[in-house]
Symmetry: C2
Subunit: 321 residues, 2 copies
């Protein structure tokens, strides 16, 4: 066994790649679109892409499979309990695939997998206490504490997007109000940009208005505009950075970690977003964390889930997890 | 060695008691007032009360001393770096006392000591993942993760009172705005009651006005009035419970612990405060934590620091900490 197949099981696509014990991805991934119309077609599609990958990566002698899934995962039963983007409710994905493919299959929550990837083989390699904050359509997190993944007493730890930063604030899909996800996600960035449309100084060529009218004003587009120097988009990023700063301070004052890694689609803004947020942290967090806690962009990008799921599986196979 | 002397080093008083390996306090504490005018008189006073306690508790054969201090503690150097209520800046309390008294002396932050006490010998005895939230003049915290005290990468973890729950909210003494401490502490409770003075329905006998005019409207008094059924004080406790609920949800969604223990002077309100806050948690936290995370009142009360400091010292002396 030279590799474990790491699998990022997303609502749009499934990516599978061989990963060695050190967390190195040995080849570009096999990618397929997810079939999410119903459970059966989803499972058939997933099994098909895994069979294809096992063949494609035969030379890397894969001996086990690790899947990263969004949602609530029961690790012991290797079951997806519920998922925001997969048509799975209480589906024992692990045992089913293990029987079909004849090798160990491990399930991990995607935030957990991602922090494991970044902490063992990414931006925080070699550090013992790492918190991952992912800014995308939602805001997620993962906790690596004292050299190990921390999943909580019931597998639900690390939901950093659903910590309240504004009592009585914007209603969140989780049922609460004022969650960080409502202020530091891609949709929030689009909202901040939208509020600057129709302002001739901030949207000189009407770009934001046009995008909004076409229904195309999203976090990714605003990020791109900000990098190109669009004034309204840059202001929107600064507004997002204020909220990210609050998120970072809360993490620093709670965990005092070695490093906070910021990932996700919005996180790809890099220093344009991180610099002002880090400055806010330095100014307002409690010492010694205010000076000591590092803030860095994720290094593995969208490969963090795939690599982390494989690393979690290596640990299970070797009995060290 | 049958006992370790646990010491709660407060700004008002110092309490010293013998604690066995199981966390049982073997006798009522020796208590003395703190001398906080300057460093020298503080140290002389502390040494004197420790000598008195060593004599008083001779029959329990104390073999080491553990001190719980508010503020930033450098455990390796056994030094108080800074403290909100003690006249100590970068004072190597551990080595100094160890030389004077001829036995090992260990220093621990008071929040850390308290969570260790509650997790090993208090409300959460036997549980592996425990978060302590103390509501007093300030709001503090302590983290017990995977069966061990978690102090953070630089000793600063657990500052839960300085997580932001209201972006741009009330300025906090830490330099930030909108910290939980500004909304869930004793002074916040007094503020909530004060805003109900002069309202004949909520303060029928003018009790709150009279207290406020005498400068005696504080969290302790409001707690007492609420327990006695005073309508304005009960409303103030409910307002505090809303904010405590936010604090509990943030802890549950972040840590998904076995139990959140609520201590401190305001925490002594017990179920009057905890019931509505727990209901808010059940309603708004993410599953499975929303159902599973227990919320309980601290059991050791103001002995948690003393007992926890002793337990931390037992671990050091035995080489298990």
């Amino acid at each position: 066994m030279i590799s474990v197949l790491g699998v990022d099981v997303g609502g749009t696509k499934i990516a599978v790649g061989p990963v060695d014990r050190a967390g190195t991805q040995l080849a570009p991934p096999v990618v397929a679109l997810s079939q999410t119309s119903d459970e059966e077609s989803f499972l058939l599609g997933l099994e098909a892409v895994l069979r294809r990958a096992l063949k494609e990566f035969e030379r890397f002698e894969p001996g086990a499979i690790g899947l990263a899934c969004a949602g609530t995962v029961d690790r012991a039963r290797r079951e997806v309990v519920s998922s925001p983007n997969l048509p799975l409710v209480s589906v024992a994905l692990g045992p089913t695939l293990q029987e079909a493919l004849g090798m160990p299959v491990v399930l991990e929550n995607d935030g957990n997998a991602a922090v494991l990837g970044e902490a063992l083989a990414g931006a925080a390699a070699g550090l013992r206490n790492v918190v991952l904050l992912t800014l995308g359509t939602g805001v997620g997190g993962g906790l690596f504490i004292d050299g190990k993944l921390y999943r909580g007493a019931h597998g639900g730890a690390g939901e950093l997007g659903h910590t309240v930063v504004q009592m009585g604030g914007i209603p969140c899909r989780c049922g609460n109000r004022g969650c960080l996800e409502m202020y530091a996600s891609g949709p929030a960035l689009a909202r901040y940009a939208s509020s600057r449309a129709r302002d001739p100084e901030r949207d000189p060529n009407g770009t934001l208005i046009a995008l909004r009218e076409r229904g195309e004003l999203n976090g990714g587009v605003v990020s791109k505009l900000a990098r190109e120097g669009h004034p309204g988009a840059i202001e929107a990023v600064k507004q997002l950075a204020d909220w990210l700063g609050i998120g970072l301070v809360n993490i620093a004052n709670t965990f005092d970690p070695d490093m906070i890694v910021v990932g996700g689609g919005v996180g790809e803004l890099g220093e344009l977003l991180l610099r002002p947020a880090r400055e806010f942290l330095r100014r307002t967090a409690m010492p010694p964390g205010s000076e000591e806690v590092q803030v860095a962009a994720a290094k593995l990008g969208n490969r963090a889930g795939l690599v982390g799921a494989a690393l979690a599986t290596w640990e299970v196979v070797e009995g060290t997890g």
